[in-house]
Structures are given as C-alpha cells and as structure tokens.
C-alpha cells in the first residue's frame, strides 16, 4: 500500500493579539473548534482549532465570517419602543426600563385576552438559554405556544433517544455505504461533509435521495431524485422491497424487534408499485437501491431535519435496526440537527390541567405554529395577540412589508440585527451574539461542549436567559429563575448545571467538567456515563435503540397528488435550521433572494438568469432574482428564503400571472 501522509498545515494568526480563546463555533450543530484572537477587547481573527477531532482546524464560511455580525453597522445597540407601528422607534435608556414596559404591556394583554394570547418563537441563533428559559416562562405564564425549528414533533421525552444520531460523524469512514436522504450537508454542514468525502475515498458508496440536484448529490455515486415530501415513503418502499425479496440482511430480524412478525405482516398489504409512483421513481430503481443497501451494509442513514415533520419518520430508525446496522461501526441512523437531548425546563413548574407546550408530541407543530403566527400577526382570529420572537419569523409572513397597526397586538423582537421583523415590531431588544456569552452546546454527534465567551457584549445587549429572567422577575417568578450572579446578570453556568440535572440522560454532568474535558481534547457525550471519552465511537450512543417500536407500513401513505389549478409549480425552501447556512452563498455575494428555476420552465416563461421574477404563493408574493439551473426539475422552484407553502406560480416581472399560468399548465400537462 502507498504510504500517504497529508501535507503539513501551519495554523495561527499574523495579527498582534493579547488573548487567544479556544472555544466551539455555535453557528451550526457540527461543533467545530475555534481559536479566536482578541486585541483590546475586540475580536480580530478566527482560525480553526487543529486539536478538534471533528473539524481538525477547518472552518466553513459561516464559522469564518461570524465576526461580521458582531461589528455590523446595523447591529442593534439599545432597546427601542413605539406604541404604534406607524410611529418611529424611541430609544430607551436602559434594558431595565424596557423590561418594565414590556411586563406592563404583557400583563394588560393577559388580563384582556388570557394567558394563551402569548406566542414565543425561538430562533436557534438566540441560543439554547433563550429557548429553554422561554419554555419555562411559557409554562409559568400558561401559554402552550412556544415554537422552535429545533423541536422534533415526532419525539417526546420518553422516546428522544430514538431520533438522535447513533454515532459521531467520524465513524462514517468505517461505513460501506452512506445513504443521505432529504439533506444537503455539503451546503449546510461543509465541515461534517468532509467525513463523507473521506469515506468515499476509502471506497464507501454514497447514495443520495433528494428532490433537487444538490451539492451533496453532485458527489454521489448513486442519485435518486424524488417528489417532494416523499422521503419517508421512500424508506417504507425500500423496506417493502427488502422484505419482499427476502434479502439476506433481514434474516435475524426477529431478534431485533419485540413484535417483528406483526411488523413484517404490516407490509403485506403495501403496493411497491403504487409507492414508487408517488415517490416518482420506477419500482425497478427502488428494488435496485434496496439490493444495494442490503448488500453494502453496514449502512449509515443520514436524514435531513425536514423529514422529522413528515409521517412515518420512525422508518429510518426501524430500517437501521431491522437491517442490523445500528451498533455496528459505520452503521445506524444519523438524523442531522438532532443532537439535542430531551431536556425539559418546565416540568417542575407546569401546573396541573394547563396545556402542555405545543411542540412536544404534536404531529404538525411547525405548520400549526406558522398558521398561528399568521393569525396572530394579522389579527385574523382570537389566537395569540402578543408575539415575542428572536428570528425573522414576521418577515416571512404574508404581511411582510405592510406595516398594519393592530392596536390590540404586541410584537417584540429580540435579536442581533435589524431585520424585517424588527421593522414590524413594537419593541426591540438587542441580543448578545453567541461569541459574547458562555454557554452549553450540543453537537450533532450528541457531544456536550462548553462554549467560551470570546469578547464582552455591548452594554445594552442581553442574553436570552437575562431577558427571560428580567421579565419573570417583574411577574413575581424570581424563585423559578434563581440563576443570578453577584452583579445581577444571569449565571449561565448555574442555569445549565440545573438544566442538565433535569434529565436522566445528562444528570451528573457539570459545566465545569465539560470545560476541563474540552481543554484536554476529550469529548463528553450524552447519555452521560460519568467519563469523557476520546474514543471515536462511544458505546453509550447506541443504548436505547434495542427497545424501539418499529414503524409499520401504512403510516406513510400519501395519496397521489392532484394538479393545482392556480399554483402549478411545487415550491421548496431551506428548512429553518439550516436556512442561514444555505443562504451564506448569497449573503457573501450580496445577492437578493434567489429562486432556482429549471431551464425548460424558465424558457417557456421567457425568464433568464438574473431576471426579476415574482413568486406567487397562496398567501404572499415574493420578489426574487431568477437563477436558471437544472438543480431543480421543471415542476419545482427553490426559493432561498422561508415559506410554509407547497405550491407556487412564477412569472417574470411585468408578465401577467394569468399568462404565466396558461404557459405552465401547457408545459406541465
């Protein structure tokens, strides 16, 4: 064999600095190691940490350029307030004054509309402390409406282990086949994707199934282009094909499930041909893929977060277990962006008979939350009247750009920079960036890491925990939020120590121990078993998979889709968790919102790359710039933004929507 040693890399900074902070990047869930260089309190350079086993000194575009957000000219400096959306903002002198005002307004709304009038949206960028403190606050307040794209609607506290990765991404190199479904890690998690390329170099087959021809698919050995929302049905069809052909991998299935026979029987009534038609693949291709997966085990199944919101999500855990991949090096299931343990910050304060927080156990939590937001923001129903949000959720709603004033409503934005949502809010609170606060971080790999603060935050910026603690204090819930430092600010270490103690899966792990272990280059995984591990595959990660309840056939039945008369095209957008990562390209290029259109569709409509187009959806119209590409099939457009719709109509600016509709009907018929 050829003796190959990679070329030497020489890391470090050329800039004069007086402090170097080793920490973890919290832009996405990969958990890359960072060396941050600080001079006179200002972050001046960022390099990758060569000692981090996952990133090995590499950084993606987001990790390299987050500094821009810290010192951006549009960064919010002071809390602001206005009584009407038609007024200009008034800067407030202090955070305390702003919180007093907010507490008074919230109390008034609760007195008039009841506790369920409050809706809270938690963006991942606001941090875990904002999310968990918000859930605790909501439980005390009595509202079930807390939304976060991190939530897994199919998971609950008792089954949380099932829907999380089996082993770290480092183990992908030991796999014989990586099956990636509905995910584009090359765009969303580039540093983790290098482990996929490393595996491919070792002879691992890369099979990718997705609606679009993605960056990940461009590196695949086998590509399957499927119809929208049929990814889980594809898993079901593959399982059917494997069982039908009696492929050797399922021989020991009786030992892997409690009631394997009943589960097997559930597939008898399923038609592979009908499923394949809905998925948009010939049944022969489904059978060939099933044979490949069966032959090339152990397979690592990597799924995207949007699949968690489709029926029969459990099929991937079922498949990995049924085929005997779980527990083998390089085999099992790796759902992306699902490394968060099932922690609860509200069970001890949840009153009896009070509605539980909405996200847990609700089949369509994301959809219902979006609808609630629409209703609340437009004042259409008796739904929530007060919205506290930390992302740009209002900017994506149909009312964006139309500053209606709803006297009964209250919209509060907590964030780093001004955006559409802040322009549609009554109150604005400047937030700390992750680099400005200490915090616990859960990586995709189920590693628990301690993220160190790099620089001090601006004076008026607060952390999520500070915000909710301040608000809770004004409502008489100081005892339920006892994590105060001597200087009155939030003690994040004490908060996370309490939080970790709330779950048997993380109990006993202390932030102090996490800090020490990161300094030694060791990783601590959950379920916590007392010791950090330097091993690539901690055995603890697969515990809990033996007691799964297999997902039977029939739970992913999709009806063949009916053509939509008014909106003939399908529309897809990045999922909210990875949206920022996908859009980093356009952010770097200062481009406006891009929409991908197939050349055939674009040609029929007279659209060329760079043209201004209008994307009509049932509840909004978005202006975008066209990118004519075969990355999308002719029946699909991909909008680099956020949307909750499934159907759209696209026309060139100046072209009538009726004309475009006629052309598209003819093209797609």
């Amino acid at each position: 064999m050829i003796d190959y040693s990679p070329m030497m890399r020489f890391n470090g900074t050329r800039r004069d600095h007086d402090l170097m902070v080793t920490t973890v990047c919290r832009e996405c869930a990969v958990g890359c190691g960072l060396c941050a260089y600080v001079s006179e309190g200002r972050l001046i350079d960022v390099q990758g940490d060569e000692g981090n086993p996952v990133s090995e000194g590499r950084l993606c575009a987001r990790g390299a350029s987050f500094v821009r957000d810290l010192y951006h000219p549009e960064r919010l400096a002071k809390p602001m307030d206005r009584t009407s959306l038609l007024d200009d903002f008034r800067e407030l002198d202090s955070r305390e004054e702003a919180l007093d005002l907010l507490a008074d307004r919230l109390k008034k709304i609760r007195d008039q509309q009841g506790p369920e009038s409050l809706l809270i949206e938690c963006h991942p960028a606001a941090g875990l402390d904002f999310y968990f403190a918000a859930r605790r606050f909501a439980a005390l307040w009595g509202t079930p409406y807390v939304y976060s794209p991190l939530d897994d609607p199919k998971s609950s506290l008792s089954t949380g282990v099932r829907n999380t990765p089996d082993s770290p991404c480092l183990s992908w190199t030991q796999s014989r086949c990586l099956f990636i479904i509905g995910a584009d890690p090359a765009a969303t998690h580039p540093v983790a994707f290098r482990w996929i390329l490393k595996a491919q170099k070792n002879g691992t087959d890369i099979v990718v199934a997705d609606t679009r021809f993605t960056k990940t698919m461009s590196k695949a050995d086998f590509a399957l282009r499927i119809r929208p929302d049929t990814a889980n049905l594809l898993g079901m069809a593959l399982m059917k094909a494997i069982l039908e052909d009696e492929l050797p991998a399922v021989e020991g299935i009786g030992d892997r499930f409690g009631d394997a026979e009943a589960w097997r029987n559930s597939f008898e009534g399923m038609s592979l041909e009908a499923a394949a038609e809905i998925i948009g693949l010939p049944s022969m291709i489904v059978k060939e893929t099933a044979r490949l997966l069966s032959k090339r085990g152990p397979v690592q199944v990597i799924t995207g977060k949007p699949l968690a919101h489709l029926p029969a999500y459990g099929i991937w855990r079922t498949m990995a277990t049924a085929m005997g991949w779980t527990g083998k090096p390089g085999g099992g299931w790796y759902p992306l962006d699902s490394g968060l343990p099932p922690l609860s910050s509200s069970t001890d304060v949840q009153a009896e008979g009070q509605p539980a927080i909405a996200s847990a156990g609700q089949a369509n939590a994301i959809v219902s939350m979006h609808d609630l937001l629409c209703d609340a923001a437009t004042g259409r129903t008796d739904g929530p009247k007060a919205i506290i949000c930390s992302g740009d959720c209002l900017g994506d709603l149909p009312l964006a750009g139309t500053p209606h004033d709803r006297p009964a409503g209250l919209r509060v934005y907590f964030g780093l920079r001004a955006n559409k949502t802040s322009s549609l809010s009554h109150m604005v609170f400047p937030a700390q960036a992750w680099a400005e606060r200490n915090g616990l971080f859960f990586s995709n790999d189920r590693a628990m890491l301690w993220g160190r603060k790099i620089v001090e935050p601006p004076e008026q910026a607060s952390s999520g925990l500070d915000f909710w603690m301040g608000l809770a204090g004004r409502l008489g819930w100081e005892e339920q939020f006892p994590w105060k430092s001597d200087d009155g600010s939030a003690n994040h270490e004490a908060f996370y120590e309490w939080l970790l103690g709330m779950s048997p899966l993380t109990k006993g792990c202390r932030p102090e121990a996490l800090r020490t272990s990161s300094d030694c280059g060791e990783m601590v995984f959950w379920p916590f078993q007392g010791q950090p591990s330097t091993a690539a595959i901690p055995a603890s990660l697969v515990s809990g998979s033996g007691t799964i309840f297999p997902t039977p056939a029939g739970t992913a039945e999709n009806a063949p889709e009916e053509p939509d008369e008014l909106y003939p095209l399908h529309i897809e957008t990045p999922d909210p968790v990875s949206c920022a990562a996908v859009c980093v390209d356009s952010r770097l290029r200062n481009d406006r919102c891009l929409v991908q259109i197939n050349p055939e569709t674009a040609g029929a409509l007279g659209i060329g790359t760079g043209d201004d187009v209008l994307v009509h959806e049932p509840r909004r119209i978005t202006e975008a710039r066209a990118w004519v590409t075969r990355m999308v099939p002719r029946w699909l457009v991909y909008l680099q933004g956020s949307s909750n719709e499934k159907r759209a109509l696209v026309c060139k600016k100046g072209q009538s929507s009726q004309e475009a509709l006629t052309i598209l009907r003819e093209l797609l018929s």
Binding site: M1, I2, Y4, P6, M7, M8, R9, F10, N11, G12, T13, R14, D45, V46, Q47, G48, G57, R58, L59, C60, A61, R62, A64, S65, V67, R68, A186, A187, P190, V191, F193, R194, L197, K201, N202, G203, F213, K215, T216, M217, S218, K219, A223, V584, D585, R587, L588, R589, N590, T629, R630, M631
Partner: protein
C-alpha cells in the same frame, strides 16, 4: 521593492483539487476576513459548473478561481503606478499605498482576477497571504477549506502529494 521582497524565497504552490470542492465558499469567506474585505469584493470566485446532462444523469462540479500568480503577469506590466508587483517567491500582489484604483490591472488580467474594493477605492486581489507565508503560516483559504480541496506548500511537496493521491485512487480501484 523592499528588502524582504528581494530575499530569495522558495516558491510555493496552491493546489486545487476540484473533485473535493463542494462549492461552500469557505475559501472566499476566509480570504475576505483575512484581508478585511467587504462581501462584494470577491478575491476567490467559486464557479459552479452545471448541472449538465450526461446521458440520463446530471453532473455538476465546482472550481475555485483565484489569482494564478503568473510567471509574466500582465497586471504587473500594465500597472501605471508600480503598485502591482511580483515577489521572488512568485507572489503577485498590489501595494495598496501605491494603488490608485484605476483598474488597469483588472483589464489587463486574462482571467479578470483583480476587483475593485469599493470601500477603499483600491484593488483587491489574492496576495498569496504573503504576510502569513512570511511568518511560516499557511494561506487562509487553504487552511480553512473544509474538504481539503485546496492545499498549499513548496512546489516539490505539492507535486508529490498530487502524485500520491492519484496513485492511491488507482490502488483503491484495483483492490
């Protein structure tokens, strides 16, 4: 030319392996952050080629394009103020103290590499991370590239690396 530039330096090479490039633009971001450039000043362009139809399949690849540090650079020859210079180690760079932002270099360059930094009114171009290289550090783009598509080093070492990679590929195919 400064004394530092007149010293004999070993020639380094930046190798691009398009088979590993995933079009993530990390090299572009790394360069912009290293040189305090605005988002619009693209000193590294990541080209997306395709997807093109090939039979029933589609193919797509990515290619990061930056300064080639030509042996006989047209930008250096045409620069009216002498701002654009070539060092002994091959690095072509623009001395911003002398640059007047006339963009003659951008016109002269056969690859259109130099771009105007509108915030400074001067040219932005890959300078091979000369300050980092002088300190013995790797250029920012090669260091941060998530997949290792960019590698940097002395020319003989880079060529050896490329040969080894190809040999490994053949050996694995024959396994």
């Amino acid at each position: 030319m400064t004394d530092r530039n007149s010293e004999k330096k070993p020639k380094n090479v930046l190798m691009v392996d398009p088979s590993l490039c995933i079009g993530c633009s990390s090299c572009q971001a790394a360069c912009q952050m290293e040189h305090d450039l605005p988002a619009c000043a693209r000193t590294v362009n990541v080209l997306q080629l395709g997807p093109y139809e090939q039979g029933d399949d589609l193919i797509m690849s990515f290619l990061p394009i930056t300064c080639f540090h030509c042996d006989r650079p047209a930008c250096v020859a045409e620069c009216p103020t002498g701002a654009m210079q070539k060092r002994d180690d091959g690095i072509v760079f623009s001395n911003l103290d002398l640059c007047i932002g006339c963009q003659t270099c951008a016109v002269a360059c056969p690859y259109g590499v130099p771009v105007l930094n509108p915030e400074m009114g001067k040219i932005a171009k890959c300078d091979g991370c000369r300050d980092r290289v002088d300190l013995g550090l790797s250029p920012s783009c090669a260091l941060k590239c998530p997949t290792g598509a960019l590698s940097f080093g002395a020319a003989p070492r880079v060529i050896q690396d490329k040969r080894q990679r190809v040999a490994l590929k053949i050996a694995r195919a024959l396994e």
